[in-house]
């Protein structure tokens, strides 16, 4: 069991900055994120896009902001659980919480801060009959351990960078790789696309272009996938695995079941300390809502600072909080 003062759900910019504000008040933080890396949508969706409204930075690339935030919070040694989604939350008799992730990691915290942006990024799923039935029985949306596919027949679906990259990688691992894409060409990185066509010309992978997934076959475990092309001709390919790679889309996920007041996929908060209706749980950044809410990173930073004033009373109920400027007190690592 991981023990911490504050467990922050969501390692985007606002979750990261909350570590800094908490650190100034001597509160330790552990962060959990469903994505395998920190940075939230900045790293996942627009790492190379410039942001122009971060105070003090006339222009900064999204990924650079994340890198700077990681450097800024380094003195406070935050710990991370990445690539896992928080599934369950149970309140303890003493008012603290135990969180359980999708991989059964347990985290004990005095305070929970939800900085989950628009929710967890989850894979977009194709619309196919029996899709859910075959999930975990041949259908997977992520390649966590490529060795799982060694000497297996694998069908990848999609035309983006991840479909291309995994087709190239798995061509050396799997018995057979088939890549299904709805167009004749790929818009992913030109180098990767050229490599995929090379591999196809050399018989290392099978390309099924201008085709969509149509039907899944199998008894208990996935055994075949049927594709249909633009002339309505069908082709059925035997397979052990199907990996649809159609990008990620944010979902509120299990947070919706924690008894929090929710309005249009956002958590209602009191703006004194950005507390939710459940004592000990706070919500900051894009995931909260209140009158005149603006979904800006800079507003999330402000919310993080005020949240910590509230959290302090729960983490150190016996102590009086005295506010000190970093210019006076410095940043005291722990």
């Amino acid at each position: 069991m991981i023990n911490t003062d504050i467990c922050i759900i969501g390692a985007g910019p606002v979750g990261l900055f909350a570590v800094f504000e908490a650190g100034l008040l001597k509160m330790r933080c552990h962060l959990v994120d469903a994505l395998p890396q920190v940075g939230g949508q900045l790293s996942e969706i627009y790492p190379q896009k410039p942001i122009y409204d971060i105070p003090g930075f006339p222009e900064i690339k999204a990924q650079d902001l994340v890198t700077n935030l990681m450097k800024q919070i380094e003195p406070f040694h935050p710990t991370f659980t990445l690539g896992e989604r928080v599934d369950h939350l149970t309140k303890q008799d003493d008012g603290s919480f135990v969180l359980t992730t999708s991989d059964k990691t347990k985290i004990h915290a005095k305070v929970i801060v939800i900085a989950g942006g628009l929710g967890c990024f989850e894979p977009r799923k194709p619309v196919l009959e029996k899709l859910e039935y075959f999930e975990g029985k041949g259908i997977t949306y992520m390649v966590k351990d490529p060795e799982k596919f060694r000497n297996k027949k694998v069908i990848l679906a999609g035309g983006g960078d991840s479909a291309l990259d995994w087709a190239i990688y798995l061509s050396n691992v799997a018995e057979r790789v088939t890549l299904v894409h709805r167009n004749e060409t790929f818009r992913g990185a030109p180098d990767s696309a050229a490599k995929v066509f090379d591999l196809a010309n050399n018989g290392k992978i099978d390309l099924i272009l201008s085709s969509d997934l149509k039907q899944l076959g199998g008894n208990g475990h996935l055994e075949s996938v049927t594709m249909v092309n633009k002339s309505k001709e069908e082709i059925t390919v035997d397979t052990d695995y199907l990996i649809p790679l159609f990008g990620l889309s944010p979902k509120l996920g299990p947070i919706a079941d924690w008894g929090l007041n929710i309005d249009k996929n956002a958590i209602e908060v009191d703006t004194v300390h950005y507390s939710t209706n459940v004592p000990g749980i706070y919500a900051i950044g894009d995931i909260n809502t209140y009158e005149n809410k603006l979904k800006l990173i800079l507003c999330g930073f402000h919310e993080a600072a005020l949240m910590c004033q509230g959290a302090f009373k729960l983490v150190y109920p016996e102590q009086k909080l005295s506010f000190k400027y970093t210019t006076v007190n410095g940043v005291n690592a722990f």
Partner: protein, 108 residues
Amino acid sequence: MTIVKFEVEDHDGNRQEVEAPDDMGLSLMEVLKASEYPVLATCGGMALCATCHVEVLEGKDGLGDATDVELDQLENLPEFFESSRLACQIRISEQLEGAVFKLRGEDN
């Protein structure tokens, strides 16, 4: 300024007329959000997340072509139609008068 009128069909197939001014630099995504349609628009309008996917049922010709960046997102969605567009890449202009958009994608 002209008030442009077009129709929006939601996931249940209900069509409603929506009005928007053509001189405020609005995108269709922004108008859909302001009209309380369940459009996520995660990336805020950069054509990077495809959570404002619409199918243009009528009036496609007036919209111009999608850029490569937009097509890149659209073509990688599990659901894609001949006249799929990202609402964030459609500017409100007189060209939209009488157009019909259907919300697409599980996220919207």
